[in-house]
């Protein structure tokens, strides 16, 4: 059922050696490949047949669900609409990810449109990895959208990673935070060659006492380009922070636009942004511990994107 390419993609995007334990839904080339539900986690196709609805029962603890997508069919652009309904007080880890293997000159792409309704006091950890491989010259594009709605006291931790090989990425992250809720987003993107990646983030801090922290780490190699927009809109007493760091290697370029909007006198919003080459003192330090120049560069980038 899983061939060698599938296995490699699954391992890279979902850390899976084979089929996962617990609930999962594996989509290959636009079709369901394999699905399993558990006592607390239900997965079913949506009414339109364009994606899945994952429902986590209230109070579910320490469970995970894997929903990887793999693409290896030339010329296919797969669009999928997935919904996650996380019951009150549940604690769940969702591992998504898309691996593209492109072996021809035809383009391949995937757009995963994910929306999350996180119930009261529920906690969701969402891990998403994007990766493309293959010798083909076809353009590989990944255009994910995530929309998160946090109810009172809910917490979402999102790790969004694009590891390499993706020619074109257009990401949109939107979030609306209820009272006392917490959102932590860490986005890591590595581009090379002529690749481009654009990330748009709109975070609305609606509820009193809501908190959001958005961290972006970008590395541009070759002639690649990344553009990062992050907007925090504070509509109540709340706290928001944006931290975006970009490392330029070779002839990469970057545009970073953090933006803060306070619509309430007790809103507290901060941001820090930096773009530049690897700091010389970091290279010197690692070389003084015995690494050569290239090893030191790799180690610094590896840590930065960790």
């Amino acid at each position: 059922m899983l061939d060698a390419i599938d296995k490699n993609l699954l391992k890279t995007v979902a850390d899976l050696e084979g089929l996962p334990k617990g609930a999962y839904n594996i989509r290959k080339n636009g079709k369901l490949l394999s699905r399993q539900v558990s006592a607390n986690i239900n997965i079913e196709s949506n009414a339109e047949g364009t994606g899945i609805v994952v429902t986590i029962k209230p109070g579910t603890k320490n469970e995970s669900v894997h929903i990887p997508v793999i693409l290896s069919q030339a010329g296919l652009y797969d669009v999928v609409y997935n919904s996650f309904i996380i019951g009150d007080d549940a604690e769940v880890t969702i591992v998504a990810g898309c691996g593209i293997h492109c072996g021809s000159s035809e383009p391949e792409g995937h757009a995963g449109i994910h929306d999350f309704q996180v119930g009261k006091r529920a906690t969701v950890t969402y891990v998403e990895k994007h990766y493309a491989s293959g010798d083909g010259k076809g353009r590989r594009s990944l255009n994910p959208t995530t929309r998160v709605f946090l109810a009172e006291g809910a917490r979402a931790e999102m790790e969004l990673t694009q590891i390499g090989g993706v020619d074109e990425a257009n990401r949109l992250n939107e979030a609306e935070l209820g009272p006392g809720s917490l959102l932590l987003i860490t986005e890591r993107v590595l581009t090379d060659g002529d690749q481009t990646a654009v990330s748009r983030n709109n975070i609305v801090l609606k509820g009193a006492g809501s908190r959001a922290n958005m961290i972006s780490r970008s590395v541009m190699k070759g002639r690649s380009k990344q553009i990062f927009y992050a907007m925090m809109d504070a509509q109540n007493r709340c706290f928001g922070h944006i931290e975006c760091d970009a490392i330029i290697m070779d002839n990469g370029t970057n545009e970073t636009m953090p933006s803060l909007k306070a619509g309430h006198p007790d809103a507290e919003l901060t941001h820090e942004a930096s773009i530049g080459k690897i700091a010389n003192d970091q290279l010197t330090k690692l070389m003084s511990l015995g690494l050569d120049y290239d090893q030191a560069v790799n180690r610094i980038i590896q840590g930065f994107l960790k």
Partner: protein, 252 residues
């Protein structure tokens, strides 16, 4: 074990629109002996750190030669010198994102085993065990990062260890143990130790005090013999520019 032969580090200064050469290190020759403790001191801007960085290869030598255990290392890179057995503690240590103290220790020693890393920490003594997974980032205090810097230097078991102002940001209660630690490493492993410092505790611990002034060695010997010159040099050299004729009383 370390021989500096007529060493120069020269920069181009812009003076009234014309380029003028200035020697930051101005013809220094000196031989460091194995297993001895050296303290290099002198006024700010005298060339102490530049000399230390020439030895590590952080700054390129303009003229002269550096011999380490008989081998000419003048043209070796920083990492080649590290492999040859020279280690360096920076005055202002680098801060990273996503690199922990554990990572630095592993890079310095090649050791990944947790118990062995904890052994290193207890040998270094001044770092609490809880430091191991701390990120070496901007959140660390000045004192914490200096302890980590010193620990990575010691952990690499160097033949020659250079510490550039190791006491910056360190609390008074840690300086004594830090001096003892360097002396113990020297006694146990015959690590040739060079400390660049203004701190009396290090000057007292040293076998040889070297005073550098305007890029030249102006004294080498014991601390007692150095005192008259140190008193002389402590007179503010910026007096004319900042306080006119009167000594403002600040101690440099």
């Amino acid at each position: 074990m370390l021989e500096l032969k007529d060493l120069y580090f020269t920069v181009q200064d812009d003076e009234n629109g014309s380029r003028v050469k200035r020697n930051i290190v101005d013809g220094i020759s000196f031989t460091f002996e194995k297993g001895k403790f050296y303290a290099i001191t002198g006024p700010n801007g005298s060339g102490k750190t530049t000399l230390a960085k020439l030895i590590m290869g952080v700054n390129p030598v303009s003229e002269g030669a550096i011999l380490f255990n008989g081998e000419d290392v003048t043209s070796l890179s920083i990492n080649q010198r590290a492999k040859a057995g020279i280690a360096y503690s920076f005055q202002q240590p680098a801060r990273f994102k996503g690199i922990t103290f554990r990572d630095l220790l592993t890079i310095a020693t090649g050791i990944e085993d947790e118990n062995k890393l904890l052994e290193i920490l207890s040998r270094v003594g001044i770092c609490p065990l809880s430091f191991l997974d701390k990120e070496v980032d901007a959140k660390l205090s000045g004192g914490e990062i200096k302890k980590i810097e010193l620990a990575t230097t010691i952990a690499s078991n160097p033949k020659l260890a250079i510490y550039d102002e190791p006491d910056t940001g360190i609390d008074l209660w840690t300086i004594g143990p830090m001096v003892s630690l360097l002396k113990k490493e020297l006694a146990d492993n015959r690590t040739t130790t060079i400390v660049v410092s203004h701190n009396r505790a290090f000057l007292e611990a040293a076998d040889v005090v070297i005073i550098i002034h305007s890029g030249k060695i102006v004294y080498q010997g014991n601390l007692e013999g150095a005192m008259p010159l140190l008193d002389d040099l402590s007179v503010c050299t910026y007096r004319e520019s900042c306080e006119g004729e009167r000594d403002a009383g600040c101690y440099r």
